[in-house]
Amino acid sequence: MQFFEFTEEQVMLRNAVREFVEREVAPKAASWDEEDICPTELFMLMGEMGINGIFAPEEFGGTGLGHIERAICLEEISRHSAGLGIALMTHHLAIAAIQYYGNDEQRAKYLPDLCSGKKIGGLSVTEPGGGSDFIGQKSTGERKDGKWIINGRKCFITNSSVADIDVCTVRTGTDEKGRPQLTAFILEKNMPGHSAGRKEHKLGLRGSVTGDVIYNNIEVGDEQILKGEGAGAQIAMTTIAEVGRAGMSAICTGILRGCLEESIKFSKERVLYGKPISKLQAIQLIIAENKLDYDTACLLTYRAAGMKDAGIPCTAEYAMAKLQSTEAAVNAAKRTMDLMGGYGIVNEYPVGRFLRDALASIPSGGTSAIQKIVIAANVLK
């Protein structure tokens, strides 16, 4: 057994992404949060950097790296803007769905623009009737005159109004056991009948857009189906499990690093009783817990990513990483606010944003209860 260490190239990658973040993300993160806007203009730059298509094949404009490198990118970005992190994470969901389940024509048609950032991607699964119970979704795809007619409404969809490519799941029938059969379609923003609905006014992750997506008699051909009729549930579950939760885990790892770094910085600068508060035991306990939470999140997140890159099933490992990192991020942010005293509730400091972003991360990609069910199911089988 070896201890986990990044390769030289991964360290260089981290430094390159960190430089991008310090220049283009960190100075603006607070304003994106305050104004509740998604900096869509950065997708082209992230495309040039190679961040969008980090795990996509080079032949389609990707960088051909893996999910460890993806996690590094998301952690670095989310250290300052978890909102942009989740916007990018969702963009990756669309890339992953098409890359892993699309045919050659679909990959050639959609991946280059998604990797370059010319187009932004989204994944629409959740509905008002249920997120955890996504099999029970009500949106439909009806076969008519050789075409599919898509109707329905999705909610809590990240990138809802900014996504050009929308990978969605709809009910297209029932299987032989009478259970709903879902099919995944690639829809495009400019298709007649496709529109974004209400934008949610969120507590956190406000550097991203979340809202409804509405399907009103959208007509598409078979060429827009991913993998095949009835494969929607598998595509949704696997993509969410191993790319969605993976992303949320990396995002909260970034938030945890933010909490750790801000708590260290503040404690060294703040002087009370004639010395920096970093000399006080009560403060040291907080910093120790922040460090522990950050390292734990790193180990779980990057372990699962390593398994994904090695082709080893990792649904439970990602569930553990997501559960641990999201819940820990909330605790660490609250702890860091306590450390900062009155300054912790002043918006000049990012820790309030860290707390809100961490809270908003918990239900994304499956609630904590769902993660525990996934973990238990894996252990008890």
Binding site: E8, M12, L13, A16, E48, M49, G50, T63, G64, E69
Partner: protein, 280 residues
């Protein structure tokens, strides 16, 4: 035709770790072991300028550094930015070198790799800040050299049209290639390193040369070749004496002005945007 643009870079201690740096009280040198390094910020501007010239006029960008073996990581970073080759001049005999000995070794390194049509460095480093290497390099190489460069364009691949910053403005120069330029941060905005650049870096030509590879005169390298010897290096005492003064706003201002004049500072030479009181 421009064939080779050499960029000399220096790894310096990461400013984020300055609190970990100590000074050897005997040798008067900075203890750098274990301190992470970054490419000297102005050298990144030098790399960027070289890349822009290459994109316009062709040729290759070659990085050169005289530094410990750990500088390989910094050179890889430069290759990831887009440079084509990198060479590290590293040998225990180079230790303790001042700018003259450093520039001598760099000049020998440039000759070793086949010379250059253009040599670009940062104007000064973030640690030593002596601002001498680029000029000394020009002298060793017998090339014209310009320092504090804020603008540069190449005409007909033969001439460099250069603007340098001076205290009161700028000066315009025309220099025949080959030339050595020490650039400042004002010259450009360094490009971001891409993921693709990182992946390609390790595959680019890279070599390490020691003193035996460079035909050096021993008396010109390391401590022996360094006419500059540090005097005293110390951490200044930043304690301040404090005197509390009470009174109305006008009384406080008059007291402050009086104190400034006592210490030889003439407040009248500064524009304050208000009338300054007269000492009583």
């Amino acid at each position: 035709m421009i064939e080779t643009i050499v960029v000399c870079i220096k790894p310096i201690p990461d400013p984020a770790c300055y609190n970990q740096i100590s000074i050897d009280p005997v040798k008067k040198t900075i203890q750098r072991e274990g301190i992470p390094t970054i490419i000297n910020p102005e050298d990144r501007h030098a790399i960027e300028e070289a890349l822009r010239i290459k994109e316009k006029h062709g040729g290759k960008v070659v990085l050169l550094s005289m530094a410990p073996p750990s500088a390989e990581a910094n050179l890889m970073e430069g290759l990831a930015m887009g440079a084509d080759e990198a060479y590290l001049l590293s040998d225990r005999k180079f230790a303790g070198a001042d700018t003259l000995a450093t520039s001598y070794v760099l000049a020998k390194g440039i000759k070793k790799i086949g010379g250059a049509d253009l040599v670009i460095t940062g104007s000064q480093t973030g640690d030593g800040a002596t601002s001498q290497v680029s000029s000394q390099l020009g002298e060793w190489l017998e090339m014209p050299h310009l320092w504090s460069v804020i603008e540069c364009s190449i005409q007909n691949t033969k001439d460099a049209l250069v603007k340098t910053k001076s205290e009161n403005g700028y000066m315009e120069w025309q220099a025949k290639l080959p030339v050595v330029l020490g650039v400042t941060r004002e010259i450009n905005q360094p490009r971001l390193t891409t993921v693709m650049g990182v992946m390609k870096a390790r595959k680019k030509p890279y070599a390490v040369y020691g003193s035996d590879d460079l035909s050096l005169e021993e008396e010109k390298i390391g401590l022996a070749g360094s006419p500059t010897q540090p005097g005293d290096v110390f951490t200044p005492d930043l304690n301040r004496s404090c005197k509390m003064v009470k009174g109305s706003s006008e009384e406080l201002v008059l007291a402050l002005l009086s104190k400034l004049r006592e210490h030889g500072i003439n407040p009248e030479q500064y524009t304050a945007g208000c009338e300054l009181g007269v000492a009583e």
